[in-house]
């Protein structure tokens, strides 16, 4: 019960803190709007059926990923910069639980970018939305949320090892959008890039969302994609536990949270 209480209060606080930052507000509100405009014009003559839904999803997912890059990924470093990292670390509640609460808060709030992208397309272009499998889409979004939470924690821990978080936060935004096929199928990428795409969980999360929107004849394809996404996410969780153990050990040996 205490665990849920900590998670809940942390995520609420995190949402407020994140929204107070101008960069986060830009990623959450302005980014999906401008991306929708840009992508709409790029796909306008694509002759794709249902291209507007494709554009809305792409722009929304880009906004979501930007929010994650400029919030969750740098959260530990932000606490360090504010001088509150050691205080959080020594509280009776495990640090990993607090971080989980922060990342859940950020991720839930970041999904608003999908809504903003949909609203932009509706208001600016009166774009029709056509979703084939609404129920499956809800499940896909839930799975994507879990996937983005785990990858955010993983990146947050990895970026803790450097003082130049700002640089790396900027450098992971576009490459992930690119190789995870947020805007086009990864199959069009060169064959040597595709294995990298397939080991990244967002690739499967995006595939799952796109399947639900476009529709499918065989539900086995959907559940196979979901299964792969779950498997990769579990591997990420194992990775997170190992990294946390390693960092925790180093912190105790050095008696310092300045790992870099």
């Amino acid at each position: 019960m205490n665990f849920i209480k900590v998670i809940y209060s942390t995520l609420r606080l995190q949402m407020k803190n994140s929204f107070a930052r101008p960069m986060y507000r830009f990623c959450l509100i302005a980014n999906p709007i401008v991306n929708t405009i840009l992508l709409y014009h790029m796909f306008l003559n694509s002759n794709m059926d249902n291209f507007t839904t494709y554009v809305m999803l792409g722009a929304g997912l880009m906004g979501l990923w930007s929010c994650i890059c400029f919030s969750s990924a740098g959260d530990i470093n932000r606490e360090r910069f504010s001088g509150t990292l050691s205080l959080i670390y020594i509280t009776p509640t495990s640090f990993s639980v607090i971080l989980l609460g922060k990342v859940i808060g950020n991720t839930i709030l970041s999904f608003v970018s999908l809504v903003i992208s949909f609203l932009t397309a509706l208001l600016f272009y009166q774009a029709p939305i056509h979703i084939e499998e609404m129920g499956y889409l809800m499940l896909a979004i839930f799975a994507a949320m879990i996937c983005f939470i785990t990858i955010s924690i993983l990146i947050a821990y990895l970026l803790t090892l450097s003082r130049k978080t700002q640089l790396y936060m900027n450098c992971i935004e576009v490459p992930i959008i690119f190789i995870c096929g947020f805007l086009f199928p990864v199959e069009i990428l060169p064959s040597w890039v595709q294995p990298i795409s397939y080991i990244l969980a967002p690739t499967w999360a995006v595939k799952l969302i796109r399947l639900s929107v476009a529709g499918f004849t065989d539900s086995l394809i959907y559940f196979k994609t979901l299964g792969i996404l779950c498997l990769i996410t579990i591997l990420y969780v194992i990775g997170i536990l190992l990294i946390y153990k390693l960092i925790d050990r180093e912190v105790r040996i050095r008696a310092s949270l300045e790992l870099s």
């Binding site: 101008p22 507000r25 302005a30 992508l39 796909f43 450098c171 576009v174 069009i188």
Partner: protein, 259 residues
């Protein structure tokens, strides 16, 4: 002149000193190149084309965004952050010189980055540069970067007027991406948006660079370049006057910000 170059170099070094060489290359070259490749692949997919010349050209010009918009645009905010703004405001030195100092090395780096973008982009997407006049192409880049640097400097002065520079700089970078005809033709935009497009830097340089790949229209290219030069000049002058205005307010109100 020596002092001008020394000050320019110090300004540039101050902006980049936080990074080592590998990080500088990664942030100022590697990341923009990945962005260029991303938008070219996206254009190939959405426009169903294999001839990506105009996207390689357009997105290469946009490679200057990191330097001209983000680095240069946040320079006065950086000065305030590091406590140098007081010295700059009260210094008897001409403020236009200070503005130009900030733009010199950023402009040079932007030219190199754009040229590198063309080389890498043309290599990956097989753009045939043999059929264009390379000197004209280089001239277009230089004039385009002059204009973009002026725009970046004007944006940098906003750092003295607002504390929302993240928003200003990011929106400006998206404005260039949407309104300059980089990823889709300007003709697709509404009338109002096309007017805005004409006031932005790079629109004409990108158009001129694209014209080089078509049947040579020398007079049209020269006209576009002259207009681009004029727009760049207007941005430099506007940046200068904005700083003068802030300077006056600073003296009157004994404060270094207008907001």
């Amino acid at each position: 002149m020596k002092r001008f170059i020394t000050q320019s170099w110090l300004n540039f070094k101050g902006q980049k000193s936080v990074f080592n060489l590998a990080e500088f290359l990664c942030f100022d070259t590697g990341y923009p190149l990945i962005t260029l490749i991303f938008y070219c692949v996206l254009a190939g997919y959405s426009f169903h084309t294999t001839d990506l010349t105009r996207w390689v050209v357009g997105n290469s010009f946009l490679l200057c965004t990191n330097t001209c918009i983000f680095s240069l645009g946040s320079s006065f905010t950086g000065e305030r952050y590091h406590g140098r703004i007081r010295s700059i405001i009260v210094a008897p030195r001409n403020k236009l010189v200070i503005v130009l100092e900030k733009g010199l090395f950023s402009g040079i780096i932007a030219i190199i980055t754009v040229f590198l973008g063309f080389l890498v982009g043309s290599g990956i997407f097989r753009v045939d540069f043999s059929r264009i006049h390379l000197f004209s192409f280089f001239l277009i880049i230089v004039i385009g970067m002059f204009s973009a640097t002026g725009f970046g400097l004007l944006l940098s002065t906003f750092g003295l007027i607002t504390d929302q520079m993240h928003l200003v700089l990011n929106l400006s970078s998206y404005a260039l991406m949407i309104f300059c005809g980089v990823n889709f033709p300007v003709s697709q935009l509404s009338y109002g948006a096309r007017l805005l497009s004409n006031c932005l830097p790079l629109t004409r340089s990108i158009k001129a660079a694209n014209l080089l790949f078509e049947v040579t229209k020398g007079a049209e290219v020269i006209r576009l370049l002259l207009e681009e030069l004029l727009i760049g000049g207007i941005y430099f002058i506007a940046a200068f006057f904005l700083i003068r205005m802030v300077e006056k307010v600073a003296i009157k109100k004994a404060t270094f910000e207008v907001f």
